[in-house]
C-alpha cells in the first residue's frame, strides 16, 4: 500500500522534472502585456486615492482663499451668530445649530426604532415575517432622498401643523425635516444592527435560555451586549449620514440661515445652504463660491472623523467568536 504510493510519488517527480526541462525555454520570457495590464489595474485602484486627494486639495485650497478674504475672520465666524454673506457676517453657528437640530431629531427617531426593529427581526420574527420585512427595508433604503423631501413637505409638515397649530409650526421647519430624515436613516441602522445581532453565535443564546432566561432577557442582556460594537458603528454611520443629508433639508427645512433652537421654525443647514447657493449660476472667485468650499470642508471633516471612529470601534471592540 505504502510502497505503491511512494512509487507514484517518484513517477510524478520524474514527470515534473522532465516537464521542467521541456519548458525551460519558456522560463525567462517576459510578458509585456501582463505588466501593462497590471499597471492599468493598479492605476484604477489608485483613482480612489486621487479622489480623496482631490477632495482635500480642492476644498482646502478654496477654503483657504475664503478665510483669506478681508470680510472673513476665523475667530469671528466661530463667535458670530449670523450668516449673512451680503453684510459680511459669516458666523457659522446658525448653520451648525440647524444641522445639529435636524440630526438630533433624526437620531431620536432612528435609534430607538432602528434598534427595536432589528431586535424584532433577529430575535422574535418568524422566518416568514423576516422574508417579508427585509425586502421592505431594502425598498425604504433605495428610495432617493428627494422623494423623502417631498414627503416631508407634503405630509409631515401638514401633519405637524395640524397637531401643534398653524401659528406654532412654520411651513418650512427643521422638525419635519428631522423626523423624515429619521425614517430615511432607519433602514440603515436596522440592517447594520441586524447583521451584527445575527452574527452573535447561537450557543450564547442557548446557554442563556438554558439558565432559564426569558426571550427578552436573552435579547437585551446577552445578545445586545455581545453585538454592541456593531450597533455603535451603525449608529455612528447613521449620524454621519444624517449630517451629510441634503435634499430633505433643502426642500423642507427652509431657506435662509436662522439662529434658533426652535424646531418648528425654518432654518438652513450646512448642506441646505450649499445647495441653495450653488443652485443659481455661481460666479467663480466670488465669496459665495469660496464659502461653499469652506462649508464642504467642514462637512467632509465631520463625516470622515465619524466614519473613522466607527471603523475603529468595529476593529477594536469586536467580540470574535469561533
Amino acid at each position: 500500500m505504502l510502497g505503491t504510493e511512494i512509487m507514484e510519488q517518484q513517477k510524478k517527480m520524474s514527470l515534473v522534472s522532465s516537464m521542467e526541462k521541456k519548458t525551460s525555454s519558456l522560463r525567462g520570457r517576459r510578458r509585456v502585456g501582463e505588466t501593462i495590464i497590471q499597471g492599468l489595474l493598479f492605476f484604477s485602484g489608485f483613482v480612489s486615492i486621487f479622489t480623496t486627494l482631490g477632495i482635500v486639495y480642492e476644498l482646502g485650497k478654496e477654503a483657504l482663499l475664503f478665510f483669506q478674504m478681508p470680510e472673513v475672520n476665523i475667530l469671528e465666524s466661530l463667535t458670530n451668530t449670523k450668516w449673512q454673506p451680503h453684510t459680511g457676517n459669516f458666523g457659522i453657528w446658525p448653520l451648525v445649530t440647524s444641522t445639529l437640530m435636524t440630526t438630533v431629531i433624526a437620531m431620536l427617531i432612528a435609534i430607538p426604532l432602528g434598534l427595536a426593529v432589528a431586535i424584532y427581526l433577529s430575535e422574535y420574527a418568524t422566518p416568514r415575517a423576516r422574508t417579508i420585512l427585509k425586502p421592505i427595508l431594502e425598498v425604504l433604503a433605495g428610495i432617493p432622498t428627494i422623494v423623502y423631501g417631498y414627503f416631508a413637505l407634503m405630509f409631515m409638515t401638514p401633519l405637524l401643523r395640524s397637531i401643534f397649530g398653524r401659528d406654532v409650526v412654520e411651513i418650512y421647519n427643521t422638525a419635519s425635516a428631522g423626523l423624515v430624515m429619521g425614517i430615511l436613516i432607519l433602514p440603515l441602522i436596522t440592517s447594520m444592527t441586524e447583521d451584527s445581532l445575527s452574527a452573535v453565535p447561537r450557543s450564547l443564546r442557548e446557554a442563556a435560555y438554558g439558565m432559564g432566561g426569558t426571550r427578552l432577557e436573552v435579547a437585551l442582556q446577552i445578545v445586545l451586549p455581545a453585538a454592541l460594537s456593531g450597533i455603535a458603528a451603525a449608529i455612528i454611520i447613521g449620524l454621519s449620514r444624517a449630517i451629510g443629508e441634503t435634499m430633505i433639508v433643502a426642500v423642507a427645512a427652509g431657506a435662509g440661515p436662522n439662529f434658533t433652537l426652535n424646531p418648528f421654525k425654518g432654518a438652513e443647514t450646512i448642506t441646505g445652504h450649499i445647495v441653495r447657493i450653488s443652485g443659481g449660476d455661481l460666479s467663480y472667485d466670488s465669496i459665495d463660491y469660496n464659502s461653499i468650499f469652506a462649508l464642504g470642508l467642514l462637512l467632509f471633516m465631520i463625516t470622515l472623523t465619524l466614519n473613522i471612529i466607527s471603523q475603529r470601534i468595529v476593529r477594536r471592540f469586536r467580540e470574535v467568536y469561533e
Binding site: 497590471q38 484604477s44 485602484g45 424584532y120 428610495i143 425614517i183 432577557e217 451629510g244 433643502a250
Partner: protein
C-alpha cells in the same frame, strides 16, 4: 426536578419577567409596524398628489377655434398652423418658426402649441386624490362658485403624454422627456467611467495586491469614500470637472464649443461627478463577487499554464460577472436618484430641449422633482408627485432586475 419547580421561591418572579417580556415584544412589534406605516404613508402621499380634481380655465375657449365645424382635435396640420397664426402675434409666430420650423413638426406638435399659446388652460385650483374621493360634491360646488368659467376635470398627472412631453413652464403642458433623457445621458457617462475603473480596482485589490502599506491605504480609503456625503462630491465636481477641466467638459478641445453650454456645466461633467460618487459602491460589490470565486478555479487555470491575466480574464471574471453586474445595477439606481451633487455641478432647471451630446446642458429627473417641489403652487407639486412615481417605477424595476440576476446566476461552489 418536579419538587424544585413546585418550590414557590423558584417561581417567585417568573410571572413578572414573562409579563415584561410580553410587553417588550409588543413594543418591538409596534415599532416595526410604525416603520411599515411610514413607508405606506410615503407611497400613499405620493399617489395622493399625483391624481385628483383640477379646475381648469381657458383663456380662449377651444370651441371657438373650430373651423367649419371641425373641432380642434380633428383638424389637419395646415388648418392648425393657420389657427395658430391667426391667434398669436406675428413676432411670436416667427420666433416659433425659428425655434423649430413648422415643416418639421407633426400635427400633434402644432396642436400642442395651440393649446399652449392660444387656448392656454390655466389651473385655478387642484385637489388631492383623497379630497377628490371623499369630498367630490363639495369640490364641485366650490369650483362652480369660485371659478364659474372653469371646467372641473378629474386628472391623472401621470400620463403617457407627461412622459413624452418636453419640459415647460406651464404645469399642464409640462413633461419629463427632457429630464429622463438627461438622466439617461448622465448615467451613460457615469457607467463609462465607473464600471471599468471600479472593476479594475476590484481585480487589482483581490488578485494582484499584496499586503503592503499602499494597498492597505487604498482599501481604507475606499471604505472612507463610501461614507463621504454626496454633496461633497458635487463640490469636487464643480471645482474639477466644471471649472478646471472646462475645455474638456464643454467640448471646446473637440471643437464642439457651443456658447450656450460652454461653461462646463454639461452632461459630461455630471456623469464624471456621479462616476466618482458610485465608484466605491462598484468596487466594494465587485470585490465581494471576485472573492466568492473559488480558489480551485484559479489553481486549475494556473495548473494548465495560464498567466495571471489569462486566469483573471477567462475564469475569475466570467464567474464573478453576475455579482459585479448586480453591484453595478445598485450603483446605477443610486446614481439615478442622486440630486444634491447635480444641483451643485449645475444642472439647469429650465431647459426645454433634449440633450443631444455629452456637451449639452441637461436636467435630470430628481432635479426636475426638486424644482417642482420647491414651487409653491399645488399643480407643480402634483407634477412632482407624478415624476416621483416614474422615478420609483424605474428604480423598482432596476432593483428587481438586480435581485433576479442574483438569484438566477448565483452558483454555490
Amino acid at each position: 426536578m418536579k419538587e424544585k419547580l413546585a418550590n414557590p421561591e423558584y417561581n417567585v418572579n417568573i410571572q413578572g419577567r414573562n409579563r415584561g417580556g410580553l410587553i417588550w415584544q409588543w413594543i418591538f412589534q409596534a415599532f416595526t409596524v410604525i416603520g411599515i406605516i411610514a413607508l405606506t404613508a410615503l407611497l400613499l402621499n405620493i399617489i395622493n398628489g399625483a391624481f385628483g380634481y383640477v379646475a381648469l380655465e381657458a383663456r380662449v375657449d377651444p370651441a371657438t377655434l373650430a373651423v367649419d365645424g371641425v373641432p380642434l382635435q380633428d383638424q389637419n396640420k395646415d388648418q392648425l398652423i393657420s389657427a395658430l397664426k391667426a391667434n398669436i402675434s406675428i413676432g411670436a409666430y416667427n420666433k416659433l418658426e425659428k425655434d423649430k420650423p413648422f415643416a418639421k413638426q407633426s400635427a400633434a406638435d402644432v396642436r400642442q402649441l395651440i393649446l399652449e399659446r392660444v387656448v392656454r388652460y390655466d389651473v385655478k385650483k387642484s385637489w388631492t386624490l383623497w379630497e377628490s374621493i371623499t369630498r367630490a360634491n363639495k369640490i364641485k360646488t366650490e369650483a362652480a362658485e369660485s371659478y364659474p368659467g372653469a371646467k372641473l376635470e378629474f386628472t391623472s398627472w401621470l400620463t403617457p403624454d407627461f412622459i413624452a412631453r418636453p419640459q415647460s413652464s406651464e404645469a399642464l403642458t409640462a413633461g419629463i422627456r427632457t429630464a429622463i433623457l438627461g438622466s439617461l445621458w448622465t448615467i451613460l457617462f457615469t457607467l463609462l467611467i465607473a464600471f471599468p475603473l471600479g472593476v479594475g480596482a476590484a481585480i487589482y485589490l483581490e488578485e494582484y495586491a499584496t499586503d503592503s502599506w499602499h494597498n492597505r491605504m487604498i482599501r481604507t480609503n475606499i471604505n472612507n469614500l463610501a461614507g463621504v456625503p454626496s454633496i461633497v462630491y458635487g463640490i469636487l465636481g464643480l471645482a474639477i470637472f466644471v471649472r478646471t477641466l472646462e475645455p474638456l467638459t464643454s467640448g471646446e478641445i473637440f471643437g464642439f464649443a457651443d456658447p450656450s453650454t460652454a461653461n462646463g456645466r454639461t452632461v459630461l461633467a455630471a456623469g464624471l461627478t456621479l462616476g466618482l460618487l458610485v465608484l466605491p459602491i462598484i468596487i466594494i460589490n465587485a470585490q465581494e463577487a471576485i472573492r466568492a470565486v473559488p480558489q480551485s478555479l484559479r489553481k486549475a487555470s494556473y495548473g494548465i499554464g495560464a498567466t495571471k491575466w489569462q486566469t483573471v480574464w477567462s475564469h475569475v471574471l466570467p464567474n464573478a460577472m453576475p455579482g459585479i453586474l448586480t453591484g453595478t445595477i445598485l450603483a446605477i439606481s443610486r446614481a439615478i436618484g442622486e440630486t444634491a451633487p447635480l444641483v451643485v455641478v449645475g444642472a439647469s432647471t429650465a431647459i426645454s430641449f433634449d440633450p443631444s451630446s455629452p456637451f449639452s446642458k441637461f436636467t435630470t429627473l430628481p432635479i426636475q422633482i426638486y424644482q417642482w417641489t420647491s414651487r409653491p403652487q399645488d399643480e407643480f407639486r402634483s407634477l412632482a408627485a407624478a415624476a416621483i412615481l416614474v422615478l420609483l417605477i424605474i428604480l423598482l424595476s432596476l432593483n428587481a432586475s438586480a435581485i433576479l440576476l442574483r438569484n438566477r446566476f448565483s452558483r454555490r461552489y
